[in-house]
């Protein structure tokens, strides 16, 4: 077994707001191996983005990591200095966001922004940085990269901007790439181009990827391992084939059953009743109790732990307390 590149252990990130403490990420543990692609799925508000911002050291006030460890190659990122964190960020760990326009500075040209990042992290000269930038733009499939180099972000389409973000993120050969909904705002044709690009990168560079998405189609086509989050916690964690074939958490099953299937002749949609509870509103029992069709009285009084029901398959649900059952 390969060693973990990233290990997140019992991470808790809370927001201290006027209306009290919001436990957005509440005891999350998982690990990513070198070259592994992992998906984090779950409905909006389940804590996916806060988890990734925590890893990047980008949770701003009033949010705070209140407990847990984030080990990157053995170093705990929750305790290192801001200076060391900045060095790591963009160099060894890079991130791409959902809306590239908000993460690119509108006042500077694309070229300026990529070469700045290359200069900062690789001690390259101005000329070297420019050559490398154009090479990166070409690599991510941008036609006429010299022209795009001197364009401003608003002059580019959404798909182009996302390519620029990827070029920037990859310019320093990061070991870990965190992609938060990288294709959600794009058309499917452009999404397919970007996913193909990411697939090639995985092959060429052995980069580990943490892909946050709510599209189960993207999950099925891209990743090795899946983490399902619900209300700030991991509720199921296993390989991609098992998740789709034999989900063991009622929430995972609900998500799969409510997804329209483009490839099936007939698809009846089940749905999960109700909505995700606001963080911290369910204080007793299982957090999925209000929407779970299989809940029993125990689910309303005691909170289940994330438990390994068989090797490499973890589930947080009372149903499997005395061994795995079919759901």
């Amino acid at each position: 077994m390969t060693e973990a590149l990233l290990e997140v252990k019992d991470l808790k990130t809370y927001f201290h707001t006027e209306n009290g403490v919001v436990p957005s990420v509440d005891g999350v543990s998982f690990s990513i191996k070198k070259g592994e692609t992992i998906a984090v799925v779950g409905e909006s508000g389940s804590g996916k983005s806060v988890t990734s911002l925590s890893i990047m050291g980008l949770v701003g006030s009033p949010g705070k990591i209140v407990d847990g460890k984030i080990l990157f190659e053995g170093k705990d990122l929750t305790t290192i200095s801001n200076r060391d964190m900045r060095k790591l960020r963009g160099n060894e760990i890079a991130m791409i966001f959902q809306e590239p326009l908000t993460s690119l500075n509108p006042l500077f040209t694309v070229g300026n922004q990529i070469s700045e990042s290359i200069k900062l992290h690789q001690k390259a000269s101005k000329e070297e940085a420019k050559v490398k930038s154009i090479e990166m733009l070409r690599k991510v499939g941008i036609p006429r990269p010299e022209k795009v180099y001197s364009s401003y972000p608003h002059m580019l389409s959404g798909g182009m901007r996302q390519r620029v973000m990827i070029a920037m993120a990859l310019s320093c050969n990061p070991k870990l790439l965190i992609a938060d909904e990288p294709t959600t705002a794009l058309d499917v044709t452009i999404q397919a181009q970007i996913l193909q690009l990411m697939r090639n990168l995985i092959h060429e560079n052995d980069t580990s990827i943490m892909l946050i998405t709510h599209d189960l189609g993207v999950v099925a086509e891209m990743v090795d391992t899946v983490i399902v989050m619900y209300a700030g916690q991991v509720v199921e964690y296993t390989d991609v084939y098992t998740i789709f074939k034999e989900p063991k958490h009622p929430y995972t099953k609900g998500l799969l059953d409510s997804t329209p299937k483009i490839h099936e002749l007939k698809d009846e949609l089940q749905s999960i009743e109700g909505t995700v509870p606001a963080p911290g509103t369910i204080t007793k029992g299982c957090r999925f109790q209000t929407r779970c069709p299989l809940a029993t009285s125990k689910c309303f009084s005691e909170e289940p732990e994330l438990k390994e029901i068989r090797p490499n398959h973890q589930v947080r649900c009372w149903l499997h307390e005395e061994g795995e059952v079919a759901i």
Partner: protein, 347 residues
């Protein structure tokens, strides 16, 4: 010649459609600078024809900016058309005036993507749903109250929410409010512009199931606009594919998803990720390269030729028109696919 055409028409005895759109165009004036002599037009919708049968759902799909919403807004009379006819129950809507127009208009309603921006934030749920009933003088007093509460029941909103404001609801609940309002006047046609695109998948399925239930219960006809193809496939009977202001293919969903005739449709289908990891390596990967060109300056000939893997010389100079290549299967392409790759897999 003219006589001949008429004869043909009476012979085939044309089917009656609920809605028929003929040669519809919408050009936006995008001329920059006040004194430019030559005006510049963006051809958002450029000469489209289609029909919708009573009780069916017609899906409209295509990339962002291809003209889907503009088409919906034209039918809804929210935009003035540049040219063409919108025939609803046999009557050209632009020929109607006054009370007659008001009445016909009430039979076409719309549901939007972002129910938040389409619901008045200062009105309570009760008043939002009651408004169309009041303005059309359908009910008042106790009867109005009954009808509003019944509508709330029908769309699955708890009656106790009647006095709340839109911001107090989740996206899915707001969409239910929008639907209650849209069906209040018992319309015949509802234009749904991306009604589930902003929602999580579990909530999407709640809304899609609700829409199917209402369709049966009230014999509704839907035009369902979306760029999420799986949802469109789920809810539609027939599907139209748009590209740069044109309809490039239109047929039943079975034919479209199983054996597309247009290269763009084939590429669009291939781009949709399939939620089954065991199929990931078997998939036929066709990737449409590049971006959609601007509708202000569309390519010559077939508008898809700049991205089409099958383009030939003829495609760059001659524009293909939408023809019935196979029964009930219309396509606009000089070289329709003989064995187009669909996505349906029999299990």
């Amino acid at each position: 010649m003219v006589q001949k055409l008429e004869q043909v028409e009476t012979q085939t005895k044309k089917e009656e459609y609920l809605l028929e759109v003929k040669g519809l165009k919408k050009y936006f004036d995008v001329t920059e600078g006040l004194f430019k002599k030559e005006r510049q037009y963006l051809r958002a919708v450029d000469n489209i024809d289609f029909f919708v049968r009573q009780g069916e759902t017609l899906g409209i799909v295509g990339e962002s900016g291809c003209g889907k919403s503009t088409t919906g807004n034209l039918i809804m009379q929210l935009l003035d058309k540049t040219e063409g006819e919108i025939i609803f129950e046999g009557v050209d809507l632009s020929k109607l005036k006054g009370e007659a127009l008001r009445k016909k208009r009430a039979e076409i309603q719309m549901i939007f993507q972002d129910p938040f921006s389409s619901l008045n934030p200062r009105m309570r749920v009760f008043d939002i749903i009651a408004e169309p009933l009041k303005t059309h003088g359908v009910a008042k007093g106790k009867e109005l109250e009954n009808q509003v509460y019944e509508l709330m029941d029908v769309v699955g909103l708890d009656r106790s929410y009647a006095r709340r404001y839109p911001h107090e609801f989740s996206g899915g609940q707001r969409q239910r409010i929008g639907i209650a309002r849209a069906i209040a006047l018992k319309p015949k046609l509802i234009i749904c512009d991306e009604p589930v695109s902003a929602l999580d998948v579990s909530i999407q399925s709640q809304i899609l199931n609700l829409m199917s239930k209402l369709q049966k219960e009230f014999q509704l006809t839907y035009i369902f606009i979306a760029h999420g193809l799986p949802a469109v496939k789920h809810i539609s009977d027939r599907v139209a594919v748009m590209y740069l202001g044109k309809i490039v293919e239109i047929t039943t969903k079975e034919k479209l998803f199983d054996q597309p005739l247009h290269p763009y449709t084939e590429g669009l289908l291939a781009a949709v990720p399939i939620p089954d990891p065991t199929l990931r390596d078997q998939k036929h990967r066709i990737i449409i390269e590049g971006d959609m060109p601007s509708p202000a300056n569309p390519p010559s000939g077939c508008r898809f030729h700049t991205r089409c893997p099958y383009a030939q010389d003829k495609c760059r100079s001659e524009e293909p028109s939408l023809i019935e290549e196979k029964p009930d299967h219309f396509v606009a392409c000089h070289f329709p696919l003989e064995k187009g790759h669909g996505v349906l897999i029999e299990k």
